[in-house]
Amino acid sequence: MPVLRRNLTAYGFLCAALLCFAVFAWYPMAREFILSFQSTNLIDPPTWVGLDNFSYAVSDPAFADAWLATLQFTFLALACGYVVPFVVAVVLNELRHARAYLRFVVYLPVMLPPIVAVLLFRWFFDPGPGLFNQVLGFFQLPGLAWLDSPTTALISLVIVSTWMNMGSATLIYLAALQNIPSELYEAAELDGAGIWKRIRHVTIPQTRLILLLMLMLQIVATMQVFIEPYMLTGGGPENSTVTVAYLLFQYAFTYQNYGSAGALGMMLMIVLLAFAAFQLRLTREDKT
């Protein structure tokens, strides 16, 4: 009896959450799967179309461009957004002054709504009176086309993205660095390890778990990049910034092809889950 009663109360407390999750999290996950095999205009009842949505997406000329741009973006964004915050955190951790100020400043852009950062940088990237070319001009350097050239557009997006996101990674690393027991450094020093060796043999191994976790999280986040191409380039020039997420949005809301958007989403999910599985294995190996 008390067991039943406890369960009843518990489910009483849980019911709101269960409802929210069921309708707005679990069902959409299943719906995603169903949607990718259907054709629907959301008004008439959907029809089953087998693998048509997948073949439409794969045969779309922008499909290859989108994966290429997404992978390039992810790679560049990791090169900046993954490595840089760690280096910055290591250096910040060595500083004895202005720490509060530096932490505040580096995290400030993270607090801004992304639309603010994006529209602000759109102005900076302006090849004419934009800030970046003006600064380059000040140093007598030639201006760049930034968003307006297929060679620099993607890098420009990486710059915005790094600027507005790197604060959180930096602070997480910083916290992890502060958890490293100082005895380890002292011991390493007694063993005659130089600075580089201390980083390699103490700092990195001690933060390995968090480094792996952040790698995973950042891959997942950057592979879904949307707002930057949506607001800044419209996928151009020459499809150099069409990301998978952007293409998915196009499918759904420019062409109203929800089925193909679902199919593209499925593919994106499979790729991301593969990354996750790979990461999980790395961590597990780490533990054994």
């Binding site: 518990a10 995603e32 778990l209 998915l248």
Partner: protein, 310 residues
């Protein structure tokens, strides 16, 4: 704690300036205090410190300065090449213009309403769920928690379309509940809260139960007061996240008088002048920056709350 120490450190350093006093370390890091206080160590340290402070200011603060002053320039001045570092005749006109053109009053009100409403609903749902899972331990509790956490594995962009289709089916477009329901289905919040509730000593709760308190009363007068720190962190993140959100409100709140700030800015930005855009951006950044100033410590603590020891 750390920040206080560091601030004191700066003050002392400034008072004495260079030489003399050694650089104090409160904790051991890669470089030993001895190395740091050697002649070259000290020179390099100060060089690095100055470089970092200057470059961080330039990289992270200067863009904001440029935004604020850009909005104070006239249309001609803002397009001028080379640009002026200070507005020649600072004016607040573009803020006024932005306020009208973007209808910022409505947008701000909408966004605040959605954020706080969503926060209330989200907290009510997630706290009671976490409480049930942590303290009442129902049958299949583990499975439910697992299923909730599993949603974190699914990338947001992937469920965007099916979630949207679901909301369309339910007729929740242009309805705040279209934002609030999905926001409440937040596995991470439940995870954080549950973990904290787990750590509450059992004796406290048993003592209350002996006094005849039912589950609701235990939650309200024992668990919640103890959990203030985690509630603060979760609250701030919930509010800030919903304030910053873009893609979902873009899809759900399409009426021009129901849009959020971010969506409203993006919709109108193509049609107004550069200085008015900057004015709008400044107004849009003020609320989150204020929140950051006030709750800085909580936010930074919250950042690491869930991620460490993953």
């Amino acid at each position: 704690m750390i920040s206080v120490g560091a601030r004191a450190g700066t003050r002392r350093g400034r008072a004495r300036r260079r030489r003399g006093r050694p650089i104090e370390s409160q904790f051991r890091t890669i470089i030993s205090p001895l190395q740091l206080n050697s002649r070259w160590g000290r020179r390099i340290y100060w060089a690095v410190l100055v470089t970092i402070v200057v470059s961080f200011t330039l990289i992270f603060l200067f863009p904001l300065y440029w935004m604020i002053t850009g909005a104070m320039k006239t249309g001609e001045e803002i397009a001028q090449m080379p640009p002026t570092l200070f507005p020649a005749e600072p004016t607040l006109d573009s803020y006024v213009e932005a306020w009208d053109l973007f209808d910022l009053g409505t947008l701000l009100w909408n966004t605040a309403y959605y954020s706080f409403g969503g926060w209330l609903f989200c907290m009510a749902v997630d706290v009671s769920a976490a409480y049930a899972l942590s303290r009442l331990r129902p049958m299949f509790g583990g499975v439910i928690l697992g299923a909730m956490l599993a949603t974190l594995m699914i990338p947001a962009m992937v469920v965007l379309i099916p979630l949207y289709v679901t909301v369309v089916d339910l007729g929740l477009l242009n309805n705040p509940w279209g934002l609030w329901f999905p926001a409440a289905a937040n596995g991470f919040n439940i995870f954080l809260l549950k973990r904290f509730f787990d750590s509450i000593p059992r004796e406290l709760i048993e003592a209350a139960q002996i006094d005849g308190a039912g589950p609701l009363r235990v939650l309200w007068s024992v668990v919640l007061p103890i959990s203030r720190p985690i509630l603060g962190v979760v609250s701030i993140f919930t509010i800030v996240t919903s304030f910053k959100d873009f893609v979902w409100p873009l899809l759900v709140m399409t009426d021009s008088d129901k849009m959020t700030l971010s969506v409203g800015l993006s919709q109108t930005a193509g049609m107004v002048s550069q200085n008015a855009i900057m004015g709008g951006l400044v107004v849009a950044s003020v609320p989150t920056i204020i929140v950051f100033f006030i709750f800085q410590r909580h936010i930074m603590a919250g950042l690491t709350a869930g991620s460490i020891k993953g």
